[in-house]
């Protein structure tokens, strides 16, 4: 049986202005899997991620890490965040330091590692993201795609068991997207559990083992990607369209073209 890594039970959270962001949300994240949290804008996906790493505190419900309900005390949170990393959507919000290496070392140093250990972690994370050559560059001079990868390296350097990524491919062009999917694939292969949010059904289909379909602060359905994405009723309810490749009955582009006799 696959072990549960993270679990959310009946999370409720309201915006300050009123209105429910999360409305009794349940979610299970299985160890070593790639889960896509799929839903339209404003469905509460980012808010969910902030709950999964303990940044926001639900009004009701609870989050379990490895089957244990974690509290929001200082010590509990530190342990929580050590295991569950978060990469936010806009890289400009998470690159604080002047250079790439300095920025990536922020997390490891906060873990209490020595400078030497932190430096090793930085090299390792930059290598994993394929950006070792950027180490000495100034963060504000990077391109958008580079910033995005530095932001992920910042989380990876803390060696989290679970990595939460908010819209990781948003704003990237085709080449940047392919590159980043490769990197994420490698992280998954190395054993990191990945949870990503997206409103892009094609990305969810191409990338995830499992999909949690999300609408109005609730999980409509969670299950194997192909099954959930093919559920027309649920997908329509979430205001999403079935991926074309899935409808054509294939998993990738090359297969579609081969099957239909072109190229």
């Amino acid at each position: 049986m696959v072990e549960l890594s993270l679990e959310a039970r009946g999370l409720v959270y309201s915006w300050t202005g009123g209105g429910r962001a999360l409305d009794g949300l349940d979610l299970v994240v299985r160890r070593g899997r790639r889960l896509a949290v799929l839903g339209p804008n404003g469905a509460g996906k980012s808010t969910l991620l902030l709950h999964l790493n303990g940044t926001l505190r639900p009004e009701a419900g609870e989050v379990l890490v490895d089957g244990v309900v974690l509290g929001h005390g200082r010590a509990a949170l530190a342990g929580w965040r050590r295991r569950v990393g978060l990469v936010m959507q806009d890289p400009d919000d998470q690159l604080f330091a002047a250079t790439v290496a300095e920025d990536v070392s922020f997390g490891p140093l906060n873990l209490g590692l020595s400078e030497a250990e932190a430096a090793t972690r930085v090299d390792e994370a930059l290598a994993a993201l394929g950006i070792a050559d950027l180490a000495e560059r100034a963060t504000h001079q990077l391109s958008f795609g580079q910033k995005k990868r530095v932001a992920i390296a910042g989380a990876v350097a803390m060696r989290p068991e679970v990595l939460l990524l908010d819209e990781p491919l948003a704003g990237l062009d085709h080449r940047g997207g392919v590159l980043l999917q490769g990197v994420l694939g490698a992280l998954a292969a190395a054993g990191t559990t990945l949870v990503l949010t997206t409103h892009d059904v094609d990305l969810a289909y191409a990338f995830a083992d499992e999909v949690a379909l999300f609408s109005n602060g609730r999980t409509l359905r969670q299950g194997p990607a192909a099954e959930v994405l093919a559920d027309r009723v649920a997908m329509a309810q979430a205001g999403l369209e079935t991926p074309l490749l899935l409808e054509l009955g294939v998993r990738d582009r090359a297969e579609a073209l081969a099957r239909f006799g072109r190229r």
């Binding site: 949170l77 050590r82 910042g154 989380a155 803390m158």
Partner: protein, 221 residues
Amino acid sequence: MLALGLLVLVLAVPPWPGAVAVLVIAWTAALAGARVTWRDWLRLVAAPLGFALTGAFALAIEIGPDGLALARDGGAAAAAVVIRAAAALSCLLLLAVTTPAPDLVRGARRLGLSPEIAEMALLIWRFLFMLLESATAIRHAQDARLGWHGFRRSIRSLGLLVALLLPRALDRAQRLECGLAARGFDGSLPMLSPRQPVSLRFIAATLGLQAAVLGVSLWWS
């Protein structure tokens, strides 16, 4: 309107019973009239009272020949100030929860505030929400990487946050200038102000209520 009038009254009349009456009216108006939930309202009220209590402590003690001692009036003055402050605060919050700040600025403009200042205030209003959003996002990102665990790290994180925010604020200004240039920005910011419906009945009721509070307090004392 109601809130501003009450605010003036609080300062003008003695704390008992004027301020207490105002306190009751403001709370009723907020909780019943404006439908603010108890939870939100209490949270709003609680924060600034820290200042009131520290300040009142200063009033309740006295530096005499033998050092510190309890004030001779036994803290009555302190209590009066706290009651008045609590009432005034409630009026302020009532105003804050019922009237968006831009409406106040527009009102002030009709009353003769110079357009440059009004415009600046409205622009600041817009910027502060954009920057608050950025600051919150940065804070969350730092939190995720354990940036706020312990005093030294918190100081460092806050410093980095501020240092990131300032260039972003100026950058935002520059980009907004560019975006507005496309719409004919030449330095001035003309716009149509929404018209506010004024309810005569509401004004009459407000004035009546305020007169009543004033009357009762004067009669009592």
